[in-house]
Structures are given as C-alpha cells and as structure tokens.
Symmetry: C2
C-alpha cells in the first residue's frame, strides 16, 4: 500500500485496530469514509470524541452514563431493595430491554479471570460491599455470564456475601427458549434437570 | 437503549451507519472505544479527519492521493504508453500488489449501472478521452470488474475508443488459479474455453 499516502494508511490501520475488523474490512471502511460527504464522515469522528468526553461511570452502580448518577440509580420508581450484579454495561442494556427487572444494578466491569490477570480487586466488588452497608438491600441477584469466568465470579461473590445475611440468588440456567434437547450440550441439560420446577 | 446517554447512542449509530456493520457490532465497537485510553480512541477520530482533509483525486488518473499528482503518475520509471482503466482506487491497490503492470492507470470511479443511475457521464470517461489526445498512449487495458456493470463499462469503452485507432485489450477471464472445474460456473467455463491458448 506504499503508493498510498500516510493519511489513508493511518485510517486503514485505525479501523483495523478495532475488534473484529480485519484489514480487508478496514480498507472497505476507509474507502467508504473517503467517498462520503465531509459532514457525514466527520460525524463518526465527532461521536467518538463526544462519547469519550461525556461518558463516565455512574458513581453508584458503575454503569456507563453521561451524568454523575445514572438514570436507573436516580429513578425513584425502581426498587432499591434488589441489586442485580452484572459483568458489563452491555448486560444492563440487554436486561433493560426485557422490562422484567425493576431493581437496581451493579456493574462489576469484568469477571474473575486469572488467565487474563483479573482478580476480585480489579472488579467493582469493594464498591458493591460499600453499597451493601445500606440496610434497604434485601436481595442480590448474581447475573454474571454462565461461562467459566462468570461462574467463578458468581461463586466468589456468593461466598463473600452469604455471611452478610442477605438473600443471594443466581439467574436460572437451562435450555434456552426454543431450544432443542437433542442439540443441547450435556452441562446445559444437567443444569436444566437439576433446576427443574413443579408445574 | 434509552437508559443510555445521547453520546453513547450517537456513537453506536455512527458505527452502525458504516457498510457491513450491524447494530450488535456497532455496539461492540462503541464499548471498545469507551474502554480504550483516550489517546487511542482519539486516534481513529483524528485519522478520519486527517484522511478527509488530505486525500483527493490525482489530477491525471483520479486515483486517491495526498498530492496533486499521484506517485504512480509522477514516477518517471513507469511506461506512459499503456493505461490500465479500473473502476476503483482499490483496484489500483490490488494490481500494484502484483508488481506485474508497469504502465499508468485511469480510475473511472465506478461502473455503468443504469439501475443505480450511473451512466458514462458520471464516470471519469471524458477525462480519459482527454488523456488519449497525448500521442504516446498506445494501449488501453480495460480492467473493469467481470460482473454485469464492469462488462457493460468495458463494452461501452471499447466501442468509444476503437475508432481512435488505439489498441484496446481486456483482462483475461477464465478459471482462477487453483480453481476446480467441477465447481466453476458455466459462464466462467465458457470464457475459459473461448479464451484458450496454445501451449
């Protein structure tokens, strides 16, 4: 690509550095930007700068927000006695789309993963313990992912929080809705059996 | 996503507007940007602005460049008697990687496609005719794509240029290297047969 200018090479490199975007896609995106009217192309640049400048962590739940306290934490209609602990702000997004949960959240910003050098002290667990000093909290729902890191985090949290005398629950695991028993993996099937309930 | 701030929503929207990036990927990219150190995140924004400001069309061949005349057109070692006509600046990139062609290029910036409202007047064909007034040009290689639009453009160009008495050639079509005859489509096979050469 050395017949091209640094400016184009830089743009391709910058796109290629994003997760899940290879060199071919990066090239396609760069040429798309070059073909767009200036105003439209600048929109993405502005959105990046704007987001980086405005978005920060909620001081209570560590969700991403453009205010000091996120709209969920400051909503008086939400039930402050239940806290749902998730790994990532995107999990809050996904759960909010369901309109099922009316309590508050606590975003850990990751999961315990020794292989990536992430221990409990890298997560917002100390901050969760501080929140639990508030006597109104009656239940903690652990909604970390159901993979190894998420399970390890759930286990760690339940061991840590059980002595505090608060009700600790874990989201249900089993066959997804519309799931085929013949295609389900063994662990999911075992979880589905162990978690069976009377109809 | 209404529990999120405009800044994050805007960033997701801006990514989702890029070709080949759906909402899920746009969300992943936006969160990646938010997690990055400010300096790294700004790099992409800067690269976009920089590219849009610096990169323009070469005044001779309409390739993309940051100079008035692109490095290929201004290279005295290239053969000015052969011009390879391509649809897009990316085609120049691809052909340059092969190190096979030592002539000059002419980028049409598209192909004739009535369904998209692109006729010959939207392409850099007038500019190609102007270049052909230079008597040194002896051969035009038409290297438009081998799809319907590319073929239509090749046909149009050859009809237009034949009367000028310049040698007009078209890149070869046939089985790609490593291709399997049993998996090739009929048109490619027919082209491969018609274009056979004596060994």
């Amino acid at each position: 690509m050395d017949q091209y200018s640094d400016a184009l090479g830089n743009l391709v490199d910058s796109f290629a550095r994003l997760p899940g975007i290879g060199r071919k896609s990066a090239q396609r995106l760069a040429f798309h930007i070059l073909k767009q009217p200036k105003q439209e192309a600048y929109q993405l640049a502005k959105a990046i700068v704007n987001a980086k400048e405005k978005i920060k962590y909620c001081q209570i739940c560590y969700n991403l927000t453009d205010q000091d306290i996120c709209p969920i934490c400051s909503d008086p209609n939400r039930d402050p006695s239940i806290i749902c602990v998730v790994e990532d702000a995107r999990d809050v997004m996904a759960l909010e789309r369901v309109h099922e949960f009316k309590g508050l959240y606590h975003v850990l910003n990751g999961a315990i993963s020794p292989i990536d050098g992430i221990g409990p002290e890298q997560l917002k667990i100390r901050e969760l313990l501080l929140r639990l000093q508030d006597e109104t909290i009656q239940e903690i729902i652990i909604a970390t992912n159901t993979n190894i890191e998420g399970e390890a985090t759930a286990m760690y949290l339940s061991n840590l929080l059980k002595p505090l005398g608060i009700k600790i629950t874990r989201i249900a695991q089993g066959l997804p809705v519309g799931g085929d028993i013949q295609y389900a993996d063994e662990i999911t099937l075992a979880k589905a059996f162990n978690g069976r309930w009377e109809i």
